[in-house]
């Protein structure tokens, strides 16, 4: 290190006035170089007739990283050049990550808003051929709301009680096993949950396809998420509150119900809503268990239903312009639903955050 630090003053110490500062590139260099790299990349892209914009972007990124390193190595020395290299790589990574995500949201909004209107939200696909324009997502929205609602009704109490067990009672081997398997359960692929309900409910118990079967698979996916987030929230409740209540002679269960839960209720609600947002977009169990339908079926316990994510899949599979339009519009509805749930949940979390005394 010291060798490279000494180099610049020795190499060209004479012509410059003596300072301790190493020569630095001016602050506007990185943005200017970025612009330059982008311009050159567009030039190369058009000149060489590269069709895909993805290539343009990759060339620009490469030019920027290499150019920054070369410039810094010339002016500032090798250590600074490495630092510049890392900085520019980090920026390029960030852009690489952001560009597809912006593109995803942009495409969905731009293509989805084409057919999205009141009629789309209030009509089903009943009697509409897939190649015809028209039709809507009403039946799918009904299906999604019912399936997700039932799944929440199953998994929220179980998840809540499990979290209470882990935080308030859990000692020893059982609690450790539950903690570990809750973690592992978070990673179960949704299709495996679907297969389990398929082999248990439909093949063994011989029930037909229904929204309820889908709800059971969804609740398997939802439970661990609820447990995890509720657990975190209960741990945040200060111990003094519990001790104060117990010291007054209040039984433990009443302490939990009347003191611990109300303190953490904001965070718990947030966790449940985030879990709902996660399962609302699950398609795989619906494909296996609910089977999909073109018409409105209000009864989740009997017969095939549809759901928003399944509807998107179905319309994509139909493979023509009219159905693609409907798929994008349904995707926009689904994303809006999930995002609103997320935003509201985080809003509640901020609103009702437990006071931790810090």
């Amino acid at each position: 290190m010291s060798v490279t630090m000494d180099k610049p003053p020795v190499a060209d110490g004479a012509p410059r006035p003596y300072t301790l500062r190493q020569p630095r590139l001016p602050r506007w260099t990185p943005p200017a170089l970025a612009l330059g790299a982008a311009a050159v990349a567009v030039g190369i892209g058009i000149g060489a007739g590269l069709g895909s914009r993805i290539q343009w972007g990759l060339i620009a990124g490469l030019l920027f990283v290499v150019g920054m390193y070369a410039l810094a190595a010339r002016v500032e020395g090798r250590r600074q050049a490495k630092d510049r290299l890392a900085t520019s790589l980090v920026w390029v990574c960030f852009l690489l990550a952001v560009v597809p995500l912006i593109s995803l949201v942009w495409e969905t909004v731009a293509r989805g808003s084409k057919v999205l209107d009141g009629g789309f939200l209030s009509h089903s696909m009943s009697g509409v051929l897939t190649i015809q324009p028209g039709g809507g997502v009403y039946h799918a929205i009904i299906g999604t709301l019912e399936q997700v609602g039932i799944a929440t009704a199953i998994s929220a109490p179980i998840g809540l009680l499990t979290a209470i067990y882990l935080v308030e009672y859990g000692r020893g081997r059982l609690a450790k096993a539950v903690t570990f398997f809750v973690d592992v359960m978070t990673g179960i692929p949704s299709i495996v949950a679907g297969l389990f309900i398929l082999s248990f409910w439909i093949i063994m118990l011989d029930f037909g396809y229904s929204g309820f079967a889908g709800s059971m698979a969804l609740s398997i996916l939802m439970m661990p998420v609820v447990v995890r987030s509720t657990e975190e929230m209960l741990k945040l409740v200060p111990n003094e509150l519990r001790e104060a209540s117990l010291a007054l002679g209040v039984p433990k269960w009443r302490t939990i119900l009347k003191v611990v839960l109300p303190t953490a209720i904001g965070g718990i609600a947030t966790g449940v809503m985030l879990a709902v947002a996660r399962i609302a977009g699950e398609t795989a169990p619906i494909v296996l268990l609910v089977f999909g339908s073109q018409v409105i079926n209000n009864n989740p316990f009997d017969g095939a239903q549809s759901s928003l994510p399944y509807y998107i899949y179905e319309q994509w599979a139909a493979g023509n312009e009219a159905s693609y339009d409907r798929a994008w519009a349904a995707a926009l509805v689904l994303i809006a639903f999930v995002m609103i749930l997320n935003l509201v949940a985080r809003g509640i979390a901020r609103w009702k955050a437990p006071k931790t005394g810090r």
């Binding site: 900085t87 390029v92 495409e107 998840g159 990673g187 495996v192 609302a280 995707a331 994303i335």
Partner: protein, 330 residues
């Protein structure tokens, strides 16, 4: 202690006789017992569900395997509905592992970069909303990624692929013959985009926990920002990044709908990753479920069991690493 011998001495003798009675009394409150029973019951129910998943899948899988005329692990065919049924998971295992590995190769470096960007490079004002947006993106449903992948990404990758073919086609891996780019490599790219948010957010948390003192000590010795990161942040966060990547890998292995919409499946192992073909466990289940008869469904369940075990191992390993790290830092 010395001043009040009576009270401080009280607990030890009490623990002889009256204390158990006291404890027993509080434990026998019916409300407490019912509540404890319910909450412990829910915990046990979760374990039962996990066991039941394994058991039910195994029962159906055994039924399917007993009818199988081919070798379950080496047959390159999926004719589970013909008589006699012949099926094997070789192609599916290959496709699943290869596409997930491509996803990891792309996503992990980029995710580390983004996590560092949020934790150490971005201006403070930008960092908080950015981490917030990354969390939001983790919530985008996979079917929407699939739709975007099939209708936007695939048409845009053709140019890149023919370019790769021109320069790297001789390797065989990057050979590309014109056509829709609905290949394993495209799946890898799409999966990388999908697991990026989760890997990023876990890594970011770990990077932010780096002891401030270590970083400041390095800075005080004249280290550049990159040297600070290389010498104090990355070594501290290594196990966290490994477990984050394995969580991402678990997601990539089990991803269904995005793969089912983008891939054009076939039961061949293609040496070229850019040409369409291949399949994954989850994709095969979703795509061929509706045409399956009884044995066909059981065969799909058997392949699902393999996927279940695979993700269980990966996730279990990730959680072990996290748990060990927690003990170490605490």
């Amino acid at each position: 202690m010395d001043i009040t011998p009576a009270t401080s001495a009280a607990p030890p003798p009490l623990s002889g006789a009256p204390a158990p009675a006291e404890q027993a009394k509080s434990a026998t409150r019916p409300g407490d017992r019912i509540f404890l029973g319910f909450s412990r019951g829910s915990g046990i129910l979760l374990l039962v569900i996990m066991a039941a998943i394994a058991a039910f899948l195994a029962v159906r899988a055994v039924n399917a395997l007993s009818h199988n005329e081919g070798n379950f692990f080496t047959t390159f065919e999926w004719s589970a509905n013909s008589t006699p049924p012949v099926f094997g998971i070789a192609v599916l295992a290959f496709g699943t592992v290869v596409s997930s590995l491509i996803a990891m190769l792309i996503a992990v470096p980029v995710a580390i970069g983004v996590a560092l960007f949020v934790s150490h490079y971005a201006p403070r004002k930008l960092a908080t909303p950015l981490s917030y947006v990354i969390d939001l993106l983790a919530a985008v449903p996979s079917i929407v990624y699939g739709l975007w992948g099939a209708l936007f990404l695939v048409p845009h990758l053709g140019g890149l692929y023919s370019w790769l073919n021109d320069y790297l086609g001789w390797t065989g891996i990057f050979a590309y013959h014109d056509g829709a780019a609905r290949s394993l490599f495209t799946i890898g790219i799409l999966l990388a985009i999908m697991i990026l948010p989760i890997v990023t957010s876990v890594s970011r948390e770990v990077f932010l926990q780096t002891p401030r003192m270590n970083e400041e000590a390095a800075l005080a010795l004249g280290a550049t920002r990159w040297e600070v990161i290389r010498m104090s942040v990355l070594p501290f966060g290594r196990s966290g990044v490994i477990s984050a990547s394995m969580l991402g890998l678990g997601r990539a292995l089990g991803e269904t709908m995005a793969v089912a919409t983008v891939l054009s499946p076939s039961f061949l192992i293609n040496t070229s990753l850019l040409d369409p073909g291949g399949g994954t466990f989850a994709q095969n289940i979703a795509s061929s479920f509706k045409e399956s008869g009884e044995i066909g469904k059981d065969a799909l369940i058997a392949s699902g069991l393999v996927l279940f075990v695979l993700t269980l191992l990966v996730n279990g390993a990730a959680r072990m690493i996290i748990a060990r790290r927690k003990e170490y830092t605490a």
